[in-house]
């Protein structure tokens, strides 16, 4: 190998992956960004610069839908951060307790919803929350709270939060597993040193373990962010492409699908669809950059 001959095996090893990845993922990604700058007029594709974005942000018909979807998407994300991740951390903290029995059993059971498809999850919850079937009201009745029941998925003011909570129910397993792994990797010496100083139980969690697992919480947050901002399936399965009632559960994914594919009387418009996709790309990119440069570099990684 000292002689300057071409080592053909290197390109041969790399070629299939790079080819597939480039043609199916990277090229379409940039092509979508490019298509957002075009429009179809009289069956011809013409370059219109940033017109599509102008329409999306300032045309009353489009901008109302766009900001609605974006706002809903942020609420969707906030519910995940406030509910999914704390529950995940709490479950992981309990599971990592060294003398806990049946930990593996609990772990596997709690992870089951995560492996189900959105279609199953969406319909299953739709049936359970349905006033026709009456499982939810009769269960609330059982604990004396029947008056609280409402057809949550059908009410504009509750539908989005309900869907977000269903999604939380489905995905709690992921933060749980990742945090669990992080907690297990904390060496015993550190905890024992804390015990010598009288830090045990809950205060050991807050003062020793939590700071040590912050990097994992950061990773989970960015995974949640990316996942939420290209979510689509659950809303589509439970509420349909119109993201009802009255678009109250519309998020960027469903908005893009409707625009790009068309629905009912509206024709699909791939160029406006691309513009929305570019918006999603920008949001995800900003999120990832904030994480990489703003959060990750500032977080102290402890040598463990």
């Amino acid at each position: 190998m000292q002689r300057a001959r071409i080592r053909w095996h290197i390109p041969v090893f790399l070629a299939p992956a790079v080819l597939v990845y480039t043609t199916i993922m990277i090229f379409p990604l940039f092509n979508t960004l490019r298509l957002a700058l075009y429009s179809k007029v009289d069956q011809e594709r013409i370059y219109v610069g940033l017109d599509n974005f102008r329409t999306l942000f300032f045309d009353p018909f489009w901008s109302e839908q766009f900001w609605n979807a974006l706002g809903n998407n942020f609420w969707f994300f906030i519910v995940h951060m406030l509910v999914q991740n704390p529950i995940g951390v709490a479950l992981a903290a309990i599971l990592s307790h060294p003398r806990l029995r049946f930990a593996a059993l609990y772990r596997s059971a709690i992870f089951i919803p995560t492996i189900l498809s959105f279609v199953i999850v969406g319909f299953a919850w739709k049936l359970i929350l349905s006033p026709i079937w009456g499982i939810a009201p009769s269960m609330l009745d059982f604990v004396g709270l029947k008056s609280l029941f409402a057809p949550w998925l059908g009410k504009e003011e509750y539908a989005l939060t309900t869907l977000a909570l269903i999604s939380v129910w489905q995905f709690v397993g992921i933060p749980m597993m990742l945090i669990y792994a992080a907690l297990l990797s904390i060496p015993d010496e550190i905890l024992e040193a804390g015990e010598v100083d009288g830090i045990t139980g809950l205060s050991a969690f807050w003062k020793i373990k939590l700071p040590l697992i912050l990097p994992s919480i950061g990773i989970i947050s960015i995974l949640t962010f990316v996942g939420n901002f290209n979510a689509f399936d659950l809303v589509y399965a439970a509420q349909g492409a119109l993201a009802g009632p009255d678009f109250s559960t519309d998020i960027l994914g469903t908005f893009m699908y409707r625009t790009f594919f068309g629905f009912q009387l509206q024709l699909g418009d791939p160029h406006m669809g691309s513009a929305i996709a570019s918006g999603m790309f920008a949001i995800i990119l900003i999120g990832v950059c904030i994480y990489l440069f703003g959060i990750q570099t500032r977080m102290r990684r402890y040598q463990m």
Partner: protein, 279 residues
């Protein structure tokens, strides 16, 4: 954490919390499964009761099997998932080997380029992907899905496998080189078998999202003969909304294969998630 410090009250509280959450996690699945075996009347009268001799009925399953082509959907899902996993693992391992084993110009850059796709979801490029698939005539074929899922799975696969391949001992590979094995033989006969656990992890990670995906089947392959199980059940349930027996049975039939896979692979999956392979 010695004995004296684990007081029984704490222990009960911990189990209580875990049992409560386990019930929340399993309850919907349980309700769907038991009601799929009941008559329509019993579904509504006693939704939480187990099916007994009076209320047992397979009418929902009969409707599903008669009306929907679930075996075809299942077969499509299986082909797409297995083929995508095969290509992700093969191509991913080859690229990971090149990046981990050889020093060449642009190595780091290539690694970064391939890692881009870990954070950027492939769905963003859907408009252009559809256009490309239409132009190449792959739309409404299983190949369209296989290609997309292969591209989607590669970045993380390369990343994880690269980490593992760096740990394979150099002495072993150099000994093989002295024995006159080609680089290809070293990869296929020596390194691949050694990273099998990592390959299994990658496979399990990719399997669930591919099997469950609704977006790409909906857009790239909505035709009847190439529907995946996820899309098939979505469409079927949409059409049979008022036939509760059929809907519950269709849901159960969609749940069961995943549940079986999970039981088989859960140890692998959980080990992969907790081994820090994704950190």
């Amino acid at each position: 954490m010695n004995k004296a410090r684990t007081n029984p009250f704490n222990n009960i509280a911990m189990h209580g919390a875990l049992i409560l959450y386990t019930l929340i996690a399993l309850f919907p699945v349980f309700v769907i499964l038991i009601n799929s075996f009941k008559t329509r009347k019993a579904i509504f009268r006693e939704p939480l009761a187990l099916p007994d001799a009076d209320t047992f009925s397979m009418i929902g399953y009969q409707t599903v099997l008669k009306q929907g082509d679930f075996f075809l959907y299942f077969q499509n899902s299986l082909i797409v998932t297995v083929a995508s996993l095969f290509f992700v693992l093969l191509f991913g391992a080859m690229a990971a080997f090149a990046l981990a084993e050889y020093r060449f110009k642009g190595n780091t850059l290539m690694g970064l380029y391939l890692a881009l796709g870990i954070m950027i979801p492939i769905r963003i490029g859907t408009v252009a992907i559809l256009e490309m698939m239409v132009a190449s005539g792959l739309v409404n074929t299983l190949w369209a899905l296989i290609l997309v899922y292969t591209a989607q799975g590669l970045p993380l696969a390369v990343f994880i496998l690269c980490e593992f391949m760096r740990q394979v001992s150099d002495d072993l590979k150099n000994a093989a080189r002295v024995d006159g094995l080609s680089e290809y033989a070293i990869f296929f006969q020596l390194v691949l078998p050694l990273v099998r656990p990592a390959m299994a992890t990658v496979a399990v990670f990719n399997m669930i999202p591919i099997w469950n995906d609704l977006w790409f089947p909906l857009i790239l392959a909505p035709a009847e003969e190439v529907k995946t199980l996820t899309l098939g059940s979505q469409v079927f349930i949409g059409q049979f909304v008022t036939d509760w027996n059929a809907v519950l049975s269709a849901l159960s039939m969609a749940i069961l294969p995943v549940l079986v896979l999970y039981v088989i692979f859960s140890r692998q999956l959980i080990r992969g998630l907790t081994s820090g392979a994704v950190k």
